[in-house]
C-alpha cells in the first residue's frame, strides 16, 4: 500500500473550505490540492486557521461550507501540533511506533533510523526532549509508509539548526517514499526552501503558488516584510 502506484490524481482535493466558529469565519473559501510526491506548505500568522485547514483536509472537522474529497483508502500519517503522553501511561518509543497500526520490528528500526533516533527505541517517551520527541513522532507517522504525511508545526521546541535538519529530513522522506506532504509552519525561511507549493493563509487564502511567487506577493511582504529566499539567511525574529 506504499508509494503512489503511478496514480497522480490528488490525494486530497478541497474546494471552498469554510469553517465558522462563534459567529466568525476562521476559515473561508479555501481551495487545497495535495498530490502524490508533493510538499504543500501552509504558512500564515498565529490564528490564521492553519491547523483548522489541515484538520478539515483530514476529515477531523466537517467544513460548514465547501467539500473535501480524499482518495479512497487513503493512508495517513499524522503529527499533530501537540501530543502529550500522560505520565501514568508507560510507553517506550518502540511501543509508540505501533500505536495505531501493527508494525514489524525491522520497519520500526528503519523509521527510527531514518529520523535519527534509533538509539532511543527503548526510552520512555516522557523522558525525551522536545526535538527528540518530534523526531519520534515523525518516525511513528512514517512507519506504515502512508500515502499522505501531515505535519502540524513539526519544528516546535526545536532550535534553528535542528529545524533546518528536520526540514531537510522531510524533503528527503518525500523523495524516498513518494508520499504527499502537508506541512504547517510559521517558520518561513526554512519552509520556503523545501516546499513545492505554498498556501499563505490568513483565514482566507491570501495567495498561493511556488515559494518564489508567494514571497514576492504584496500580502506576504506587508505582513512579514521583504526577505531573501535562502534558508541560511539570518533573521529568525519575524512576527
Amino acid at each position: 500500500m506504499s508509494g503512489t502506484g503511478g496514480n497522480t490524481a490528488p490525494l486530497v482535493k478541497g474546494r471552498d473550505l469554510s469553517v465558522r466558529r462563534q459567529g466568525r469565519w476562521i476559515l473561508e473559501g479555501v481551495d487545497i490540492d495535495i498530490s502524490p510526491g508533493e510538499i504543500v506548505t501552509i504558512i500564515g500568522p498565529n490564528g490564521a486557521g492553519k491547523s483548522t485547514l489541515a484538520k478539515v483536509a483530514l476529515g477531523l472537522i466537517a467544513p460548514d461550507r465547501g467539500a473535501v474529497e480524499r482518495r479512497g483508502g487513503l493512508s495517513v500519517g499524522y503529527v499533530p501540533q501537540r501530543v502529550s503522553v500522560d505520565a501514568s501511561l508507560p510507553m517506550t518509543v518502540e511501543r509508540l511506533m505501533r500505536l495505531t497500526r501493527p508494525a514489524k520490528p525491522q520497519a520500526i528500526e528503519a523509521a527510527l533510523a531514518e529520523t535519527g533516533v534509533a538509539h532511543l527505541a527503548k526510552a520512555p517517551v516522557q523522558r525525551l526532549s522536545g526535538g527528540e520527541f518530534q523526531r519520534v513522532l515523525l518516525a511513528r507517522a512514517l512507519v506504515a509508509q502512508p500515502q499522505l504525511l501531515v505535519l502540524d508545526e513539526p519544528v516546535q521546541n526545536v532550535d534553528v539548526a535542528g529545524a533546518e535538519a528536520l526540514y531537510g529530513l522531510i524533503a528527503g522522506i518525500r523523495d524516498r517514499h513518494g508520499c504527499g506532504v502537508l506541512l504547517i509552519s510559521h517558520d518561513l525561511n526554512v519552509v520556503m526552501a523545501t516546499a513545492d507549493k505554498v498556501l499563505f493563509l490568513h483565514n482566507h487564502l491570501c495567495c498561493a503558488g511556488t515559494p518564489e511567487e508567494v514571497a514576492n506577493h504584496h500580502h506576504y511582504i506587508s505582513l512579514f516584510g521583504p526577505r531573501p529566499l535562502h534558508p541560511h539567511s539570518a533573521g529568525q525574529s519575524a512576527a
Binding site: 483530514l58 476529515g59 493512508s75 499524522y78 508507560p90 510507553m91 505501533r98 500505536l99 520512555p124
Partner: protein
C-alpha cells in the same frame, strides 16, 4: 466445589479483580477516576429502578450508569460549570436519589450495606456465573478494542486521522465500565468499586514499562488483593470489600517503595 461459600467468595473476588485491573488502567490513563466514581454512585438508583420495573438489578444498573455517563458528557460540552463540580453534583445527587428511592420502596427488602460496601460472602452461584460470563465478554471486548482505545487515549485527533473510529471505541469503553460496575457491585460495593479500578492499576504503574505489562500487572495485584483481603476478612471477621481495598492499598505502597528504591540507585545504570 462452588458449594462452599468461601470458594464462591474467592472466585467472585478473583473474577472481579481480573476485569477491573486492565479496565482500570484506561480509567487511570484517561484520567477518569472521578468519572468512574460518579457512574458507580448512580448504581444504587439502578438497583431501585430495576426492582420497580421488574428488571434484574444488573440490567438496571447498566442502564442507569450509562445514562449518567451520557448526561455527564452532554453537560461537559456546555462548559457552563467546571467538570469537577459537575462530577460532584451528579455523583452525590445520584447516590442520594438512589438511597431515597430504595428507602421509599417499602415492599422491598434490600440489604443496603451489601450494596454500598459489598457482601461477597452472600454471592449466589447464579451471580457468580453471571460475573464470570460477563467478565469474559468484557475482557474479550477490551482485547478487541485495545489498540484503537490506546491510540484514542494518547491523542484522539491522531487516532481519527489515521482511520480509528474514536466515538465508537470510547462508547464501547464506557459500556464496559458500566457492565463492570453492574457485575462487581455485590463484591466490593458501589462506594469502593472505583478503588478496585484505580488502585491495582496505580500499583502496577510503579513497575510497568509498557501498557500491556501494566494491564497484566494490575490484574495480578487485584487478584492478590482479593485473595489476601478475603482471607483476612475471614480470619479477623472484617468486612470483605474494605479488606480487599486495604490489601490493594498496601500493595500500592509496597510497589511505590520498590520504584523509589530503584531510583535511589547510584547513577550510571538507568533502570
Amino acid at each position: 466445589m462452588f458449594d462452599d461459600f468461601l470458594i464462591r467468595a474467592l472466585a467472585a473476588g478473583i473474577g472481579t479483580a481480573l476485569i477491573a485491573g486492565p479496565l482500570g488502567c484506561f480509567v487511570l490513563w484517561r484520567r477518569m477516576a472521578y468519572f468512574g466514581d460518579t457512574m458507580s454512585h448512580s448504581a444504587l438508583l439502578g438497583v431501585g429502578l430495576g426492582f420497580l420495573a421488574g428488571f434484574a438489578p444488573a440490567l438496571g444498573v447498566t442502564l442507569v450508569t450509562v445514562a449518567i455517563a451520557a448526561l455527564l458528557i452532554l453537560l461537559q460540552r456546555s462548559r457552563a460549570l467546571p467538570v469537577d463540580t459537575l462530577l460532584g453534583i451528579l455523583s452525590h445527587g445520584a447516590l442520594s436519589i438512589g438511597l431515597v428511592v430504595v428507602s421509599l420502596m417499602s415492599g422491598l427488602r434490600i440489604d443496603l450495606m451489601a450494596y454500598l460496601f459489598g457482601d461477597v460472602l452472600s454471592v449466589s452461584r447464579g451471580e457468580l456465573a453471571a460475573l464470570w460470563a460477563g467478565g469474559a465478554v468484557i475482557i474479550a471486548t477490551l482485547l478487541l478494542i485495545w489498540r484503537p482505545l490506546l491510540a484514542v487515549t494518547v491523542d484522539e485527533d491522531l487516532a481519527r486521522a489515521e482511520g480509528i473510529k474514536a466515538g465508537l471505541v470510547r462508547g464501547l469503553f464506557m459500556l464496559l465500565i458500566a457492565l463492570t460496575i453492574a457485575l462487581s457491585m455485590r463484591i466490593v460495593g458501589i462506594l469502593l468499586i472505583t478503588s478496585l479500578l484505580i488502585i491495582p492499576a496505580a500499583a502496577a504503574r510503579q513497575v510497568a514499562r509498557s501498557p500491556e505489562v501494566m494491564a497484566i500487572g494490575a490484574a495480578i495485584v487485584g487478584v492478590a488483593a482479593a485473595v489476601l483481603g478475603l482471607n483476612g476478612s475471614f480470619l479477623f471477621d472484617t468486612p470483605s470489600g474494605p479488606s480487599i481495598v486495604v490489601v490493594a492499598l498496601g500493595l500500592f505502597v509496597l510497589l511505590s517503595l520498590v520504584r523509589m528504591l530503584k531510583h535511589l540507585r547510584p547513577p550510571g545504570r538507568a533502570d
